[in-house]
């Protein structure tokens, strides 16, 4: 049943005041400033550059896109789509530096496999082959490495991929934090599949495949620095099967993303910018586990920005949203899927949220990691 949310506040009578006009001028000026090519101002890399927010985007555009610019890279999607002979192939790579290496619900090994599998899956590809590169710190326990490799083996089997090539490097004690893993993957893209956030258009619906923020909160708590305990575990999982059943059931899927670093909010912003549309979501509709909400509330961070490792965001033709929801919910990994919002014509480039309280606000990209507030 579709319904108008009752929580829309009384529309505020708005006279056209000179103040309002001046404010709008400022807002327009800001939007113009935001469209300019970002400049990298820092002289050194800071932790913010790795957080997946604005600082990461600026770094990628100012350094990497600038150096490597080509039409395959430019869309900055999770995987590049290439023609190899007659076949369309998706190629992606991802590095894993998670700390701690072992956490409730998984470890760096299954994360490294699932992360790359998911980047291929959301590009509409069937994941096939993976590479694995290891950077190990002198002194790292072999027993731990065995556990990690076994987890990778199991995750690869579950996702139907094979690790077919690899590399091992060891660095001196102190030059790395135990074990880092890089994986790259290739997958086959079926004819006619063309997913990308730039395809979003007004009227489309936005879905998530399950409760958000589980992985990020699990990692924060597993670091043991917070003295908070909660019954929550990482959602790390391979999404290829879920994607295949969604694409099989719904022709009108425009884009898929897995909501990793930067969380769902970052993806919604990428949709709004890439497609020159607005994105409007409803806080009441977003599935978040109570444990995750509670921990995030205590820390003063927003689950919308917290990483998931087994959740996708789908942009679907509005007329087929119910079908898409049913298709997702039919799979165990999508059992708690939800329609969380829609693509709108205005305001262009902005993500807005109707809060549970009944107000409206922006959901912007964060600069870096969400910082806990002091009071």
């Amino acid at each position: 049943m579709t319904q108008q949310l009752a929580s829309t506040p009384p529309s505020r009578p708005r006279r056209v005041l000179p103040t309002g006009e001046r404010e709008q001028q400022v807002l327009d000026r800001i939007e113009r400033a935001r469209r300019r090519r970002p400049k990298l101002r820092e002289e050194r890399i800071t932790m913010s550059h790795g957080a997946g927010g604005k600082a990461t985007h600026t770094l990628i555009e100012a350094i990497f896109l600038d150096a490597f610019r080509n039409p395959l890279l430019e869309p900055l999607e999770d995987a590049a789509r290439l023609q190899v002979g007659k076949a369309t192939v998706a190629l992606t790579t991802d590095s894993f530096v998670v700390s701690p290496l072992f956490f409730p619900g998984g470890n760096i090994g299954d994360l490294a496999v699932n992360g790359t599998v998911n980047d291929l899956a959301v590009a509409g590809a069937t994941p096939m082959y993976l590479s694995a590169g290891f950077i190990l710190e002198e002194g790292f326990p072999v027993a731990d490495l065995t556990r990690i490799a076994e987890s990778m083996r199991d995750a690869a089997a579950a996702a139907g991929v094979a690790v077919v090539t690899g590399d091992t490097k060891v660095v001196e004690k102190g030059k790395a934090d135990g074990c880092y893993i890089n994986t790259a993957g290739v997958g086959a893209v079926a004819a006619g599949v063309d997913l990308g956030v730039a395809n979003a258009r007004p009227g489309d619906k936005i879905l998530v495949s399950g409760p958000i923020g589980d992985h990020g909160v699990t990692i924060m708590l597993a670091r043991g620095e917070l003295d908070i305990e909660a019954d929550v575990e990482s959602d790390t999982a391979p999404l290829a099967e879920l994607v295949a059943s969604l694409l099989g059931a719904v022709p009108g899927v425009r884009a898929l993303r897995d909501a990793t670093r930067g969380g769902v909010a970052t993806i919604l912003n990428e949709i709004a910018k890439a497609a020159d549309v607005g994105v409007l979501i409803s806080e009441n509709a977003i599935p978040v586990r109570d444990q995750v909400r509670g921990a995030a509330e205590l820390l003063g961070i927003d689950p919308l920005y917290v990483a998931c490792e087994g959740r996708l965001v789908a942009v679907v033709d509005g007329d087929q949203a119910a079908q898409a929801l049913a298709a997702l919910r039919a799979h165990p990994l999508g059992a708690q899927a939800a329609i969380i919002g829609e693509v709108t014509a205005e305001p262009v480039g902005l993500v807005t949220i109707k809060t549970a309280f009944g107000g409206t606000r922006i959901v912007d990209l964060l600069v870096g990691d969400p910082l806990p507030r002091i009071c």
């Binding site: 949310l5 506040p9 807002l27 000026r29 607005g278 409803s282 509709a285 329609i339 002091i374």
Partner: protein, 380 residues
């Protein structure tokens, strides 16, 4: 979720909004200041202004502890962190506050070790785990966080921890409010009083505002309904011509404050003769330093602190924003030169800062947002 969702009930908000609107006298404009940055954050995060009639303007006050730290103190802290064998600890939202040569994050990229902690007590754990290092806690905040710093120092003393000290930047709320009340360019009708500070100092210290300045004060909680109810209570006082201190946050704030917390502060800290506030300048008796009895834990005595003074950037109008004279977007550099990525003024740094809150959450022409969203709510 219990104890959260009850305070975010949209139906109750509608009812309160109607009662607030009914109290507005035609033609009169109301300016209410929320003193505390936590309130500013709540107001924007939940879109609370959508419930207010146009004649009520919320002015965002100076109660963001990160925002009022002058650049010179950030430079001093980085200088401290650059000393041999020093690990500095700091609350998270201090990490991006710019000094004259970058913020803590940038200092770390140049080689300092400044670690984020969630409680000052975590600094003691770090000190115990690193006996060959000197751990300095960058203490900031109003009376809200001062007791936890005080307790940490008392515990360090009790446990005989020698490699821990505090770089004390605690400030007190009353002198800041007084500075604002005495500011000639300001007209306010009432105050939404800070909630967390008042759990420590209680409600009595605000009585002079009602008595001497004739402005009503309502100490408020941090959920959106708390704030809406406080606005209603303020409007009711104004409507009835009263100016009193009222406590909306009685479920947490005792009228006389928390004597244990106050005692801990008193045992370890004392008022400084004066302290520089970003944007507001020097205010006398507005900050705390370590007492002589705690000299062993006073980083300002243990280390050579240069006492850097840096003028606020000329283009920055944080002071006017903090006093509520300017709205964030009225600042010359707002959103163009000064953004959350590259903040010039501290109002842009912390999510509690008025400018950052407006930029992150409120930068929006509401007429362009569709009124309703037509989706099926899936959360029970």
């Amino acid at each position: 979720m219990r104890f959260v969702d009850e305070f975010r009930d949209a139906d109750k908000a509608h009812a309160l909004a109607a009662r607030i609107a009914a109290l507005c006298e035609p033609g009169r404009q109301y300016k209410l200041m929320e003193v505390c940055g936590g309130h500013t954050h709540t107001i924007y995060k939940h879109g609370l202004e959508d419930y207010l009639p146009e004649s009520i303007t919320l002015v965002h006050g100076p109660g963001c502890p990160v925002c009022v730290i002058p650049m010179g103190r950030v430079d001093d802290a980085i200088h401290l962190a650059s000393q041999p064998d020093v690990i500095m600890t700091s609350f998270g939202d201090m990490m991006r506050v710019p000094g004259s040569n970058g913020a803590f994050f940038d200092a770390n990229a140049r080689g300092t070790t400044i670690k984020m902690v969630y409680s000052p007590l975590d600094s003691l754990k770090i000190a115990l785990a690193n006996p060959d290092k000197r751990v300095v806690f960058m203490a900031i905040g109003f009376e809200t966080t001062a007791p936890s710093t005080a307790m940490t120092v008392l515990r360090a003393r009790a446990q005989g921890i020698k490699n821990f000290s505090v770089f004390c930047n605690h400030v007190t709320i009353i002198p800041a409010i007084k500075a604002i009340l005495d500011s000639p360019d300001l007209r306010l009708d009432g105050f939404i009083g800070p909630g967390h500070v008042s759990t420590v100092i209680g409600c009595r210290p605000y009585e002079f505002i009602a008595r001497s300045y004739g402005k009503p004060v309502v100490v408020a909680g941090f959920e959106p309904l708390d704030i809406l109810q406080s606005i209603y209570m303020l409007m009711l006082q104004l409507h009835e011509g009263r100016s009193e201190v009222e406590n909306q946050y009685a479920r947490v704030v005792p009228w006389n404050g928390n004597p244990v917390a106050l005692k801990a502060i008193g045992e370890t800290m004392e008022l400084r003769p004066y302290f520089e506030w970003r944007g507001l300048g020097f205010i006398s008796h507005s900050a705390l330093k370590m007492r002589e009895a705690c000299a062993d834990f006073d980083a300002e005595l243990l280390f050579d602190v240069p006492g850097v003074r840096v003028a606020d950037p000329k283009a920055c109008q944080c002071g006017e924003v903090l006093k509520g004279v300017l709205k964030p977007w009225e600042c010359k550099v707002f959103g163009t030169a000064c953004t959350p990525e590259t903040p010039i003024g501290t109002c842009m740094v912390s999510p509690e800062g008025a400018c950052a809150a407006y930029y992150n959450y409120g930068r929006l022409n509401r007429q362009r947002v569709p009124e309703a969203i037509s989706i099926e709510p899936s959360r029970p």
